[in-house]
């Protein structure tokens, strides 16, 4: 177990392990997403209050949760990079930043589209919306800081420090915003009976899209990390061999 984890810290082993693992992950992810989306958008019953426009929940909630958890993952990777100087951890953190910003943007966009028919406005300065907007700003800050450095090592260390500062600050921002203004609905409870507010016919597809989008996060992050590994190790023998192999096949 420990040896396996230890090996994952080496760029070459990370690359080789993910080569065999990625197709499976992609298959499961696409299966979950397709089933969840077709079921949720096409077959789940309409909500008794919101009619059909609640269906955006199948994208909105998983991307919003994803945007938060990607930040946590990025912070753990940044800490590993700062403490043990693990290069793969930094590459994963770099890859996560853009994926997290993207998920945040999708969550904000779907929220605005959903807000228009239910609240009557696209945007409102409510706690959850505001804190997600700020989370988006923090992602942008991390990406901007990293790209401002010419040196790869300084940029990655600086981005790690900022990520860790953000992880202390984001809960405070969230609670400041909650205290400030709240309109967003609290999460509704799941119910096993079809008479409840959230019957299984509605929430089961959400599980499919939820896990599908988690899978998608890992697919994106792993693919971006693999590119990053190839780029940073471009002078290493094993990468050059790999490129020769590809050229031979073409």
């Amino acid at each position: 177990m420990w040896q396996w984890l230890y090996k994952l810290g080496s760029p070459r082993h990370f690359y080789e392990m993910t080569t065999s693992f990625l197709p499976w992950l992609k298959g499961v992810t696409y299966f979950l997403l397709i089933v969840g989306l077709v079921w949720g958008l096409g077959f789940a019953p309409p909500d008794y209050q919101m009619g059909d426009n609640y269906r955006i929940i199948y994208i909105h909630v998983p991307t919003a949760l994803g945007a938060m958890w990607i930040y946590v993952m990025m912070a753990v990777m940044a800490a590993m990079h700062m403490i043990w100087n693990i290069k793969v951890a930094d590459m994963v953190a770099k890859s996560s930043a853009l994926v997290g910003a993207g998920f945040c943007a999708v969550a904000l966009f779907t929220g605005a589209v959903w807000g228009r028919p239910t609240w009557g406005v696209y945007w409102i300065w409510d706690a959850k919306l505001t804190s997600f907007l700020i989370l988006f700003f923090v992602y942008i800050g991390v990406i901007a800081l990293r790209s401002a450095f010419d040196s790869e090592t300084s940029g990655s260390k600086a981005a790690s420090v900022l990520t860790l500062v953000g992880v202390v600050n984001l809960p405070i921002i969230y609670y400041a915003a909650v205290w400030w203004n709240t309109l967003h609905q609290p999460p509704s409870e799941l119910s096993l009976s079809s008479q409840g507010a959230n019957p299984p016919e509605i929430w089961i597809p959400a599980f499919f899209t939820g896990f599908g989008l988690i899978g998608l996060v890992f697919v994106f992050v792993i693919m971006r990390t693999r590119n990053e590994i190839l780029w940073r190790e471009r002078r290493a023998q094993w990468v050059q061999d790999l490129v020769k192999q590809e050229e031979g096949r073409a």
């Binding site: 700020i134 700003f137 901007a144 800081l145 300084s154 600086a158 400041a176 915003a177 205290w179």
Partner: protein, 229 residues
Amino acid sequence: MSRQTLGVWGSLRATFGRELLILWRSPGDIVNPLMFFVIAVSLFPLGGDADPTYLSGIAAGVVWVTALLAVMLSMESLFRSDYEDGSLEQLLLSPQPLYFHLLAKVAGHWLMTGLPLVILSPLLAMMLALPDEAYTPLIIGLLVGTPTLNLIGAIGMALTVGLARSGLLLAVLVLPLSIPVLVFGTGMVQAALAGLPYTGLVALLGALLVLALSLAPLAIGAALRISVN
């Protein structure tokens, strides 16, 4: 002088005094943020509406946001010249704990740039027709809140000091992190205007300050080590 080493307290005093002296000798670093503060605040009646009822509604927010921006602009003088002349490296190499050096440095910087903003704020609030009962919470809020802003700004400045042009990047990094201070600070004024007690919010601002005092110097130190190397 003999080669006696300073204790923690002595080094703290030395860094603090040095910071005061440096800022005192470059008055532009003290005056320019204040001028920005005054000019930016006076743009709101000009660009918006000079009607006192409208102004009194936005007064606290305008003073707070502009003070936040002025603090960001003043951060440049905290590390920039030290970085360029190499004294920042000496600071990092010193045998005394970096934590206390940085605490003293930011405290000195706040005393010379942050405190004048707080002292000037009632005048600007008056020009924006802030109601009488709101002055005390505005000043207390700024007094407790601006040191936190300085500490957060110092993290951003430490991260970007090695870059040639850091101004805009500094704002992008630091402004989102400063939002809680802004929310609680303007919240105090709103509470006072609504006739509610605001002591709870002072406590929250104080808690943020204590948190920043205890953690920010660590982040500043880590960031400086990256920027200097």
